[in-house]
């Protein structure tokens, strides 16, 4: 190794030490919780940091069956799937309209959409509760699905518009010359071009819906209809001392997130650092 390169490598060592330190700090709480989920009440007291003596699944089984995490998981899925599908589809349409079409009041309507993702949920949660009560939708999945779509299309509109607006003109004109209608131009010509942006949108809407807390806290009171974060919060409130069982529950909530995060890490980071603040 030439001396200069070796010196440079040595100079980098403190940087790596720091990076590793901060990395460990970022993941250790999750690792501890994951390990705690395999221990029992007595083991956790004297073996907090080490690997479990045996990899026991009983906490997961109990959390899943007795502590209703199977029902919470089902609720979360039933809410998340339609929200992601419908809001992505609608956002592609609005993004296309704002990015590529000219029509009166377009910028005013766009700013109104923008408002929807800048305000916090607290801005509408109180009347939303009373409106849902009037509609008889409290304690139903609709109470979560419908507002989640309303929120997600605001971000989606903002997100997709930018990508549609940046498609080179000649590509669009080529489609026009071919006599393609708006609808065909959107789905045949432009959809493939904005596919990476759509993937990021899907991933972000998924995570925001999956993690949502306030809506489910206010609009759902029936235990079996609760989504995972709510189920976990209430479970923890009731069984504060059963740390292994709570940890198993927390792991069940976290696992789908981690899985999707590992698969779509680039999309997550690109989307969440884009300055798109979620209210």
């Amino acid at each position: 190794m030439p001396p200069l390169l070796r010196r440079r490598t040595l100079a980098n060592i403190p940087v790596y030490v720091l990076l590793i330190l901060f990395l460990v700090l970022a993941v250790i709480p999750f690792v501890l919780i994951f390990l705690a989920a395999f221990k029992d009440g007595t083991e956790i007291a004297h073996n907090t940091f080490g690997l479990p003596q045996t990899w026991n699944w009983f906490n997961f089984v109990e959390a899943w069956n007795q502590a209703h995490f199977n029902a919470y998981f089902r609720s979360s899925l039933i809410v998340v799937v339609p929200v992601v599908v419908v809001s992505t589809l609608l956002s592609v349409m609005t993004g296309y309209a704002f990015g590529r079409m000219r029509f009166p009041l377009s910028s005013l309507i766009f700013y109104i959409f923008l408002l929807g993702f800048m305000v916090p949920q607290e801005a509408y949660i109180i009347p939303l509760y009373y409106n849902m009560r009037k509609l008889g939708l409290l304690d139903s999945y609709w109470a979560l699905i419908l507002p989640q779509i309303g929120m997600s299309v605001c971000f989606g509109t903002f997100w997709m518009r930018g990508f549609f607006a940046n498609i080179p003109r000649d590509l669009v004109d080529a489609a026009r010359v071919d006599g393609a209608s708006n609808w065909n131009a959107l789905w045949r010509v432009m959809f493939p071009l904005v596919r990476p942006a759509i993937l990021t949108l899907v991933v972000l809407v998924f995570i925001w819906t999956w993690n949502d807390f306030l809506l489910a806290l206010v609009l759902i009171t029936k235990d079996t209809l609760r989504t995972l974060p709510l189920g976990l919060a209430f479970f923890q409130g009731r069984y504060t001392t059963d740390i292994p069982l709570t940890s198993a529950g927390a792991t069940i909530v976290a696992l789908p997130t981690i899985l999707i995060y590992i698969l779509f890490q680039r999309q997550f980071i690109r989307g969440m650092t884009s300055g798109a603040v979620h209210g």
Partner: protein, 294 residues
Amino acid sequence: MPTRKVDVQAYLYILPALAFYAVFILWPILQTFWYSFHDWDGITLPTFTGLSNYLELAGDETFLAAIRNNLFFILFYTVLPIAFALLLTTLLTRRKIRGLTFFRAGLFLPQVMAMVVVGVAWRWIYHPLSGPLNQLLRAVGLEAWARPWLGDFDLALPAVGLIATWVQYGFCMVLFIAGVQHIEEGLYYAARIDGAGELQQFRHVTLPGQTGQIGVALVTTLIAALRIFDLVYVTTRGGPGTQTLVSALYLYRNAFGINRVGYGAAIAVVLTILILLISYAVLRFQSRQERMVQ
């Protein structure tokens, strides 16, 4: 360039999304304003009371304590993570880091996790008896420092705050690392020719090159500090006393705990306006800075 003709079809493309948004978000936002001028228990007829909810808020000690706590959280959500991250980013500047993607992924993880999971994990870490933190302190002979962190009158607020710092620092780091990579190497070279030291290079090249990233970090973390709810709900429920009470939790208690719907709505209005103002201010500042750099 030929002017495109007006496309009335556009409204059809917008209509479905707008319908969802208008019915379930936009209309309730307007209703919140309307509610805030009323006294309502959620059951009987509301009575119009004008600005009296807002006047009451201005003198409500509990609300003011909650706002003070929100402002205190800015230290943990915004100041500390951005300071940390900037410091670390200078170390990473202009170095080839192997495995950067890997580090980035790990540092960013707390940001994608549900706050409830984060809260459950940290509540255990802070647990008086079996919590890893106190165990660690006892193991190194600092048992005098071990305490029920989240139940401690003076330490509960910073203890919750440090969780927020932990959630945000990785996010800020990832943001700034990306920013630094976009700064042209030539600028550093020119600065060195002019005799700028490491510190001056940071001040005159790295910082101005990061205006966009710092703006994003500011908006994101300031809003997070103002609307903090899940984390406090799961870890302390605002206690002990009102030591960790925040405005979103106070809103929730008024509107859904003791059915002071109008009063809760007034808190919502104040919170919303505060958040919109801050986003606007940061974005304005940012675009002015960018113009100055150009």
